[in-house]
């Protein structure tokens, strides 16, 4: 049976982008709502919401962003912040079960977030790192993922609500890492049946490089072949989306037709 196609998490509503930062500061809903609608149109299944460093009161900014987006679309949101209280602020106002982004394999932190996800009927994204930092090899990533999967199973979060992120690093400063990510992804698949979702924050791989789009789409296709089924990415990058849709077809996750690109876009 074909797996279902890639889950696209639109990355553009993030305070680190200048247009978003300005809109948050001025509390101007229009650019945010337009970005939300445009990303959905471009293929986003979820919308990442990240206040970044745009506000001195990030809880309020998160709530404003969530409400502002929900005025124009029912697309589920990804509440993206390393701080628990900002996630909780988002959860207070979010209408549809969101994806919480993120926690990690540190048991104490993991349990708090799993509890939160269970209480809110939410999904949870976990990074394969712990107190000792981001792993630099395959094995520690797999160890972290195993801790995450088994804790989620014990606490009762279904695998279809768990996303594991092996943390992709910029290729221009850690060139051996993408290979490790591919190896880690293919091992994550065997941690449970059904497996959890496997996700990356794609654009990180090309940070600071001039050929960003090319690096992103090549990396995405490689990761998909290793089992990736979700990604936080820029859905406005048409070449990236075309490569992703084509990889979906080649991996038999979508039924081929001569107009398969069009079919995907008219979903």
């Amino acid at each position: 049976m074909p797996q279902s196609s890639m889950i696209v998490i639109g990355e553009r509503i993030n305070g680190m982008f200048r247009d978003v930062k300005r809109a948050i500061r001025k509390r101007d809903p229009e650019p945010i709502q337009q970005l939300a609608l445009d990303q959905v149109k471009a293929g986003a299944d979820l919308l990442d919401v990240n206040v970044g460093a745009a506000s001195s009161r990030p809880e309020k900014a998160m709530q404003w962003l969530v409400k502002t987006i929900q005025e124009v679309t029912d697309t589920p949101l990804t509440l993206d912040n390393p701080k628990l209280e900002i996630i909780q602020a988002g959860l207070e106002v979010v209408k549809h079960p969101p994806l919480i982004n993120s926690t990690n394999a540190d048991p104490e932190r993991l349990e708090i977030y799993l509890q939160l996800a269970l209480e809110h009927n939410a999904s949870l994204l976990c990074l394969t790192m712990d107190k000792s930092g981001v792993p630099q090899d395959v094995n520690r990533r797999v160890e972290c993922a195993a801790v995450i999967v088994s804790t989620a199973q014990v606490m009762g979060l279904p695998m279809e609500r768990l996303y594991i992120d092996p943390i992709i690093l910029p290729v221009n400063c850690a060139q051996e890492q993408p290979g490790f990510i591919l190896e880690a992804l293919s091992q994550f698949r065997y941690l449970s049946d059904p497996p959890p979702h496997l996700v990356v924050g794609l654009s990180n791989v090309s940070q600071g490089a001039p050929e960003r789009s090319l690096i992103n789409r090549t990396c995405l296709v490689l990761c998909m072949a290793a089992g990736l089924d979700a990604a936080i990415l820029d859905p406005f990058d048409t070449e990236l989306m075309d490569a992703m849709i084509t990889a979906d077809v080649l991996l038999n996750r979508q039924i081929y037709s001569d107009s398969y690109l069009k079919a995907y876009r008219s979903r």
Binding site: P2, S4, I255, Y256, S257, S259, Y260, A263, S266, R267
Partner: protein, 313 residues
């Protein structure tokens, strides 16, 4: 060791297609699970049985079938009426063969279709001759004569769909989209139709299935895969499915050879009923939302089967 009960939940659902005139409409599709798996999702609309009616008795039909249908086979309007009143057909499938064999005015064919709709009072399927050019003239006439009756008109193919799509859009009918037991072309035809602005909930998929013994497993697996794609969220595959049974069964040698010619196959009468029934029941398990049948006894058995399975809901 306790066995974990595996219940599959799906994100997608089959489109709901509404057919028939206002006072006698039916809905097709709408499932959120594979056929008859009531623990996994909803099956709001049971599969429907359409009885095939022809504008002319097909050549080579077996005597026991003609006997079971009676004299009405020479009068399509009375035939359709009897299908509904006596054999409780949910729908009528009018299959047109005369225009490709004889000189008939297309207007008279359209009038016949209209008369059958009026007499039968159930949703109507109009099945063209299969000759593309002829159907492109014939079906628009039928479509106009049946305007507002929300019929199913067929068939649209990858190489010939524009005329039918346009006329169905104009007159409010739905389209039967044919693909030659090919899932990729199936999706492509649906995309092409939707690009003509035909709404997705006005398309049925016809996978060009055969009778039992004639590529049955092939069509079955295509239908199953179509349904899995629909439930997985592929909107271009989410149309209800139609399987042709009668017309396919009566092309097979098993429905023609008499007992004298093939004694090991047993009596022809029960054999044709069994052939239609088994073909239909198989395709219902594959996910068919409409099956078209000829023999009244097959209709009765298939209806009992559907009732039994729907009763488990």
């Amino acid at each position: 060791m306790p066995v974990q009960r595996v219940v599959q939940r799906w994100s997608g659902s089959v489109n709901v297609v509404t057919v028939g005139p206002e006072n006698a409409s039916l809905q097709l599709g709408g499932q959120t699970s594979l056929p008859f798996l009531y623990d996994e999702g909803e099956l709001p609309n049971p599969p429907r049985i359409a009885m095939e009616v022809y504008d002319k008795v097909p050549e080579g039909w077996p005597a026991p079938l003609l006997e079971a249908l009676g004299d009405v086979v020479h009068d399509p309007v009375a035939w359709a009426q009897k299908c509904v009143q006596q054999w409780q057909a949910d729908m009528i499938c009018l299959r047109l063969i005369r225009p490709s064999e004889e000189e008939v005015s297309l207007d008279s064919v359209a009038q016949l279709a209209r008369a059958i709709q009026d007499a039968a009072g159930v949703p109507l399927i109009i099945w063209g001759t299969g000759e593309g050019d002829l159907d492109n003239e014939l079906l628009p006439q039928c479509s106009q004569a049946l305007r507002g009756s929300r019929c199913l008109l067929g068939v649209a193919k990858q190489e010939n769909y524009k005329t039918l799509a346009a006329t169905c859009i104009a007159d409010g009918h739905s389209v039967i989209a044919e693909s030659p037991i090919d899932i990729n072309i199936c999706k492509q035809v649906n995309i092409l139709l939707s690009e003509m602005d035909l709404p997705l909930d006005r398309i049925l998929i016809y996978p060009a299935n055969g009778a039992l013994g004639y590529g049955f497993e092939y069509a079955y697996s295509i239908m199953e895969r179509t349904r899995l794609a629909a439930l997985g969220g592929d909107r271009m595959m989410a149309m209800p499915l139609l399987a042709v049974v009668g017309a396919e069964v009566y092309r097979a040698k098993e429905s023609k050879a008499t007992e004298e010619e093939a004694p090991e196959w047993g009596a022809l009468g029960p054999r044709i009923v069994a052939w239609e029934t088994c073909t239909a029941v198989g395709y219902l398990q594959a996910g068919a939302d409409v099956v078209t049948l000829c023999h009244p006894e097959a209709v009765e058995t298939v209806r009992a089967f559907v009732k039994e399975l729907v009763g488990k809901q």
